[in-house]
């Protein structure tokens, strides 16, 4: 079978899962950024920044290992790691601490919150808009996208070709949408200050979030519309589980972002991939208001699969939900049993086997293999 034919089979499998139809088998999306260590145990995370081409090369080799090759998802390679990570941190107006420079050689990168926005800046947003404030906050934290190394388009194209040769699905990663305004603002102010703002000046915070939603959602949806054809687009959220904030706060300050985004994406026939960390059990019912099959729920394992199945099982595909700690330090048998348990809960449709949040950089090869074998029924 050619890689192209394999990609078609895997794409069909993924599309069936996210459309809640029965695929030929449950798709497996277990891509991780530390698989390179399975090929070269002396390589460290700092090498992703120091010698990225070597890391890309051995990552590709890892995806060709027996059993691992059964995964439907492919590797994320070919981009400049530091530029990507600094841009990611800047979404929270934070900086990224980089292994080998700010951290030990084999530590994972850490987001270092800066909280550059002041209480007075709420008025600035109301007067001048969020785009103005964003530029000002970037200036305050010293983030200048123009100063980051530009992407090496020639190299990226070469890597894309190599990934295509693996015959993986093209539908395991979507275009990234802006973060929910609640998340962005809590990063801009720092979390404790933001929560105090919510209590001290709720109307002003609400006014600013409304402005941010208006500006960022339309821009994000426009980018999806004008970009390459998309099946889904991804929103990430980490600070709004139902144990984290009250339903009242969620309804007023957070959910409107989802509502506007999911509705707008639906209009252009694009699904919303919800990468929602922490326990969302108490908020899952809010997502039943959207048309069936319009979202995919991607938890970080803290929302129990039983709750997801019970509330959202008839509404959307669910990805997950092996505990990331288990694949790092558990045994293959424990991982196999965890995967079997998820399969028993989820049945034969509307499910993608994965690790909650993402596969950690120190995932053991034998544990990932155990999850794959369990999913394949071996």
């Amino acid at each position: 079978m050619t890689p192209q034919e394999m990609t078609e089979i895997r794409d069909k499998r993924m599309i069936a899962a996210i459309n809640m139809e029965k695929p030929d088998r449950i798709p497996i999306s277990l891509s991780g950024q530390g698989f390179f260590k399975w090929i070269d145990p002396t390589a460290v995370i700092a090498d992703m920044f120091r010698r990225p081409k070597y890391i890309d090369e051995i990552t590709l080799q890892a995806y060709k290992l027996p059993i691992i090759e059964e995964m439907d998802s492919g590797p994320m390679i070919g981009f400049t790691s530091e530029a990507f990570l600094q841009s990611f941190a800047a979404m929270y107006f934070a900086k990224m601490k980089i292994p080998g420079r700010d951290l030990p050689e084999d530590a994972i990168w850490n987001i270092d919150e800066q909280g550059p926005m002041t209480e007075e800046d709420y008025d600035t947003v109301i007067d001048k808009g969020w785009a103005y404030m964003t530029e000002e906050l970037y200036r305050r934290i010293g983030y200048d996208p123009a100063s980051l190394p530009p992407p090496d388009t020639e190299y990226m194209e070469a890597m894309n070709k190599k990934v295509a040769e693996l015959g993986k699905s093209r539908y395991t990663m979507g275009a990234l949408l802006p973060l929910p305004s609640f998340e962005v603002l809590s990063g801009a102010r720092k979390l404790p200050n933001f929560f105090k703002d919510l209590r001290r000046m709720p109307e002003k915070v609400a006014a600013v979030i409304d402005i941010m939603n208006e500006e960022t959602i339309s821009r994000g949806v426009k980018a999806i519309k004008e970009g390459p054809p998309a099946v889904f687009a991804t929103i990430g959220g980490t600070r709004a589980g139902s144990d984290f904030i009250s339903p009242k706060v969620y309804e007023r300050y957070y959910h409107p972002f989802f509502k506007k985004t999911i509705t707008a994406l639906n209009e252009i026939n694009v699904k919303t991939w919800l990468h929602n960390d922490s326990d969302w059990s108490g908020f899952l019912h809010y997502f039943t208001e959207f048309p069936k099959k319009s979202c995919i729920f991607d938890p970080d394992h803290l929302t129990p699969m039983e709750n997801l199945k019970k509330v959202l099982g008839d509404y959307m595909c669910i990805e997950g939900n092996i505990p990331p700690g288990l694949v790092a330090v558990g045994t293959p048998d424990e991982c196999y049993q965890a995967a079997r348990r998820l399969l028993d809960i989820m049945g034969d449709r509307g499910f993608i086997m994965s690790v909650g949040c993402s596969v950690p950089a120190n995932a053991k090869r034998e544990n990932i293999e155990a999850i794959i074998l369990a999913t394949l029924g071996k």
């Binding site: 144990d243 984290f244 700690g325 558990g330 120190n362």
Partner: protein, 208 residues
Amino acid sequence: MSKKLTDAMADLNEDAVLEEVKALKAKDVPALDIIAYLQEGMSIVGKRFEEKEYFLSELIMSAEIFKEASDILGGTGEASAASKYGVFVMGTIYDDIHDIGKNIVTTVMASNGFNVVDLGVDVPTAKYVEAIRQYKPKVIGISCLLTTAFDNIKECIQTLEKEGLRKDVKILIGGGPVDEATCKYVRADHVCKNAQETVEYSKKYMGV
């Protein structure tokens, strides 16, 4: 008894808390008494959290307000002096700078009458060793949000064993990806899912 201060703390009214603390201090009310009023308010915060009237966001906020109020009185050392129970040492393990979970736990422990020694984030093993020798806690907490730092907790606990500091201290771990498998791997005594569990375990162990 300053019901006004206790209520303001319980209601997370930051301005009223700080104003009242300053007013009581100006009237020469002993710092330990003022801390006791704040702790009473924090107990109500904890109760409201258990009753799901408050959420983690309110606990985070309460931690900040409690700290600001303590600073007016000379720092959290004053709060420690007002503690009824034993010493609780806590930090986020090295190579990890997450602080929200740690701050919630230390504040809830302090407000429940423990003498809390907060080691901060990115804490090296040597600092845990030093703190155990200096403060002789019965329970310590290690927070961790990164699976890649699990080996650091393991190394820290192994070192405590080698240094002969393990037998008299219970080691609790917690954080998003931390679960029973992690607990077994790093050889901790218990994994705490939330701050309240840390309080309950510590009280039980200390025979309170």
